[in-house]
């Protein structure tokens, strides 16, 4: 079991509050699952209490990627699918920052699918929250990479024919060192998953099923108790989170599957490994300053 925790920056003073973290009023449709994810993020940040100026909230393109406008922290709204490498650039070049990335299923699994795999395998220290609604909402109902077969969209009026991505299998297989799954109707569970992901040293990803009330209503009813479904969490005493095969087995369970932490291991982050390489290279070069280093390079070219 993992024992190390991420080195937390010094706590904020005064304590971070929801009021301080609130920015523009969300532009999502009334009833959208993303409101609850936002509320959970505020609560997680209040409890994590990082210095306000050291929190970065990033996103790509999509309904859920409007997220940074609604959070009063440093942040950015980058291009479709590429907020993960952008955020990896922040993480690698600024160890003092806590980096959170938000996006949807199109951003993460379709246009950004390759970036996700590579930043995950490099285990770059950041927290990535994927709000999966199984449909392209911002562009008004096209088939998404997670839309189930038979889903009727504007690009598949007869029902989707392509096999969808299994997000948890993709994520477990990607090399991410923390992989969890949650549901936008379960605020307490979301807060816990986001907090654990934030405290995990390395690439941590939480997939949250977040219903699109407009274009795919009822998509996640089978895991909502008040709608007759069942919210089944992972029994953490019974499931070995460091066992890749066990995680893949869990990820292969039939829909709607289970919620909680599928996979969690400690593996050196790229941040730490680059830092070690730098220390060695600097020592080998006599820990010289920049000007001395460049002068030495020039001397070799004489």
């Amino acid at each position: 079991m993992p024992t190390e925790t991420a080195p937390a920056p010094a706590p904020a003073e005064p304590k971070l509050t929801k009021k301080a973290l609130t920015a523009d009023h969300p532009t999502w449709c009334p009833g959208c699952g993303d409101f609850a994810v936002l509320a959970s993020f505020y609560r997680a940040l209040e409890q994590l209490n990082y210095p306000h100026e050291n929190i970065v909230t990033m996103a790509g393109i999509g309904c859920s990627s409007r997220f940074p406008y609604f959070v009063n922290t440093h942040g950015g709204h980058f291009i479709h699918g590429r907020s993960v490498p952008f955020s990896a650039g922040i993480s690698l070049s600024r160890p003092d920052l806590k980096v959170f990335v938000f996006g949807g299923d199109g951003d993460g699994f379709s246009i950004g699918g390759n970036h996700l795999d590579h930043v995950a395998r490099k285990n770059i220290d950041l927290t990535y929250v994927i709000m999966d609604n199984q449909v392209y909402g911002l562009t008004k109902k096209q088939t998404s990479p997670t839309s189930p077969e038979g889903f009727r969209s504007k690009t598949d009026p007869w029902g989707a024919i392509d096999q969808p991505i299994n997000p948890m299998r993709k994520l477990v297989n990607s090399g991410a060192t923390f992989v969890a799954r949650s549901h936008a109707t379960q605020v307490k569970h979301m807060v816990e998953m986001i907090k654990r992901a934030a405290e995990h040293p390395g690439f941590a990803v939480v997939e949250i099923l977040s219903e699109c009330i407009e274009f795919f209503p009822g998509a996640f009813d089978s895991s909502i108790p008040r709608k007759g479904g069942e919210f089944v969490t992972i029994d953490e005493d019974g499931h070995d989170r460091t066992d890749l095969t066990a995680a893949m087995t869990l990820a292969s369970e039939p829909w709607p599957g289970r919620f909680g932490v599928y996979y969690e291991v400690i593996r050196p982050t790229k941040n730490a490994m680059e830092s070690d390489l730098n220390a060695k290279a600097a020592a080998k070069a006599g820990n010289a300053d920049a000007k001395e280093l460049m002068a030495a390079t020039f001397a070799k070219l004489h």
Partner: protein
């Protein structure tokens, strides 16, 4: 540039004692296969020239095959300004039959052919040259020992050339020891055995004479650096304060990323090899957003992939250096050849109205300084800056004065000083100054940096009036830069018949063409543009002093008869005197090609604009 004296034009070669023939400069072409280490010979000669305060310029071709294939390395060294690597060779060293057949045409009349008599039996009956056969292969094997095979024959040839040009053996030996020292004493011993064998080879018909390069009359005592354009660019980036960046391998950009990957570690930075070009620029923009001066780069096809993100950097007003080491295109094109066909892409690529700064270095030394300028401008104007270098500059070696680091070294620490309630990331009337994450914002909201059109605070807005204002803001900062740019220098005649305009690596051949053109009585001037977007001031006035303006560039003349820069200048200045000298053979301009273009265009004072150009 004065061409070298013919070996026959000096003293009587039948004289018994060796006779020195003084040369102002010399062009040596080494032709072999890519695995023969001919680049090593060339690089040693170039380094020695740099250490001897000689001017030097090299030129190489490498096959785009994975291993093997014909390859050449040409070195021109001597006194005075060496402006090009030379149209014709004074000496040709041919390792194989194909080397002889393919390159004998590049040897000037009366030049010296040195061939490996173990591999080549040249028929030189109709060729005006001094042909000298040397058993380079067997000579090397004999010197080093049977197990050495052919390895080391390049060093044998280096020894031969050192003797032939009476180069400083002590300095060369030191260079060899520096280069091979890390491989151990055995390697140095074998290398020196091969070198000494070449140096002592009794090639009598050339031993009767040796060639002495004139001592440099411009020796300043200032230490010289001898390196290639990609290395100079990389060192310029680091001097400019670049500590972070990301890229993806593509020829001929890769050596910049390889060097940054290892060098930046010493400086406490990180260069990331990304999963693809899209990821590479995204990492780099993330690093730039974090308050660093960051770099990404590629060659044409990779730059195409970066264009979407570059649009974001323009909209979000992020400082970023993007390097394009141009090669022959489109598509995979000629990956190991040179072309200047990405100018329009650099200025107008991406989508929407996305103005950005575009710079081009003119020679290897300038690769260093253009990187410094790019860093300064990216920060000052909070914008992406594209550097358009090319394959010829990337690989060729030149010697130049060591830069003064006391004046040039930039401290790269991000500015995280707190911002107050008046903080606006996108003020309409001022240039954007971002607050990088980690900056305390007191009394104002934290900024969201965005690709959506936005108001002064960074809030998304689709307001038509605001989009007009913000589009103007992004444009006006470059107009401001245009006014601050230095007036371009004119070389040669200040007014007259013909003005040659160039950009990038064509600098040397154009200058040499101007020198030669003026020797024949033509009134000819040259302006070389380093700032391509925005263009510098006062070009119109310079243009008005010449009857004809010919733009020399390595790209296609296009559907309407004009190369890419010529098209832009015609659109900008609406001056019908602007015409084009272009070519697309994937090789650097020869001086004679430029002079021929000048002759041809000068003979026809107007073109029929109603017709497409003849093919």
């Amino acid at each position: 540039m004065v061409s070298p004296q013919s070996p026959d034009s000096s003293a009587d070669s039948s004289s018994a004692s060796p006779e020195a023939r003084s040369l102002k400069d010399v062009v040596i072409r080494l032709a072999g296969n890519s695995q023969d280490g001919i680049q090593t010979i060339g690089a040693f000669l170039a380094r020695l020239a740099g250490r001897s305060a000689q001017d030097v310029m090299t030129y190489m071709t490498i096959p785009s095959t994975i291993s093997g294939g014909p390859s050449i390395f040409q070195v021109r060294m001597g006194t005075g300004d060496i402006l090009s690597s030379g149209d014709e060779a004074d000496f040709l060293v041919a390792f194989y039959e194909h080397s002889f057949e393919n390159h004998i045409g590049s040897l000037r009349k009366g030049g010296v052919l040195i061939y490996d008599s173990d591999h080549v039996s040249p028929d030189t009956t109709d060729i005006d040259c001094l042909a000298v056969g040397v058993p380079m292969t067997s000579g090397t094997i004999e010197a080093v020992g049977g197990s050495a095979k052919e390895k080391g024959k390049n060093i044998f040839v280096l020894g031969l050339l050192c003797r032939l040009f009476d180069l400083e053996v002590a300095k060369m030996t030191k260079l060899i020891k520096e280069k091979f020292g890390k491989f151990g004493d055995d390697v140095i011993r074998n290398t020196m055995l091969a070198f000494d064998a070449g140096y002592a080879w009794p090639a009598d018909n050339i031993r009767e004479v040796y060639f002495k390069l004139q001592p440099s009359d411009t020796e300043s005592g200032h230490p010289q650096i001898t390196t290639d354009g990609n290395t100079a660019m990389t060192l310029g980036l680091i001097t400019a304060g670049v500590r972070y960046g990301s890229g993806y391998p593509i020829t001929p950009w890769s050596t910049i990323m390889e060097t940054l990957r290892t060098e930046l570690q010493k400086y406490g930075g990180v260069f990331v090899q990304a999963e693809d070009e899209l990821g590479a620029i995204s990492y780099a923009i993330g690093m730039a957003y974090s308050g660093h001066l960051a770099v990404t780069g590629s060659s044409g096809p990779g730059i195409s992939l970066k264009m979407e993100a570059l649009g974001w950097a323009t909209m979000a007003e992020i400082p970023l250096i993007v390097i394009n080491v141009q090669r022959g295109g489109p598509s995979t094109g000629l990956p190991t050849n040179v072309e200047q066909s990405d100018l329009m892409q650099a200025i107008y690529g991406s989508h929407g109205d996305s103005p950005r700064i575009v710079l081009a270095p003119q020679d290897v030394e300038d690769c260093y300084y253009v990187a410094l300028e790019a860093g300064r401008l990216a920060r000052e104007y909070s914008t992406p800056v594209i550097i358009l270098t090319d394959q010829a500059l990337a690989t060729r070696i030149e010697a130049f004065n060591e830069p003064n680091l006391d004046e040039l070294m930039v401290d790269p620490a991000p500015n995280l000083s707190a911002k107050g309630e008046n903080f606006k990331p996108y003020p309409i009337d001022e240039i954007t100054r971002h607050a990088a994450p980690g900056t305390k914002i007191e009394g104002a909201p934290y900024p969201t940096v965005t690709g959506l059109e936005h108001d002064e605070f960074g809030h998304p807005s689709g307001n038509p009036a605001l989009h007009m204002k913000m589009t103007a803001k992004r444009r006006n900062k470059l107009c401001k830069l245009a006014k601050a740019l230095p007036r371009p220098e004119i070389h040669g005649d200040m007014d007259g018949d013909v003005l040659l305009i160039g950009w990038g690596s064509t600098y040397g051949p154009i200058r040499e063409a101007v020198l030669r053109g003026r020797e024949t009585g033509r009134r000819i001037g040259h302006v070389h543009l380093r700032h391509l977007n925005p263009l510098p001031p006062e070009l119109e006035r310079i243009f008005s002093r010449f009857r004809q303006i010919f733009v020399v560039e390595m790209n296609d003349r296009g559907l309407y008869g004009y190369g890419q820069l010529a098209t832009l200048l015609r659109a900008r200045y609406a001056n019908p005197a602007i015409r084009s000298i272009t070519k697309t053979d994937g090789l650097a301009f020869k001086v004679t090609e430029i002079l021929k273009g000048v002759e041809e265009l000068s003979a026809v004072r107007s073109v029929n604009l109603s017709e497409y150009p003849e093919t």
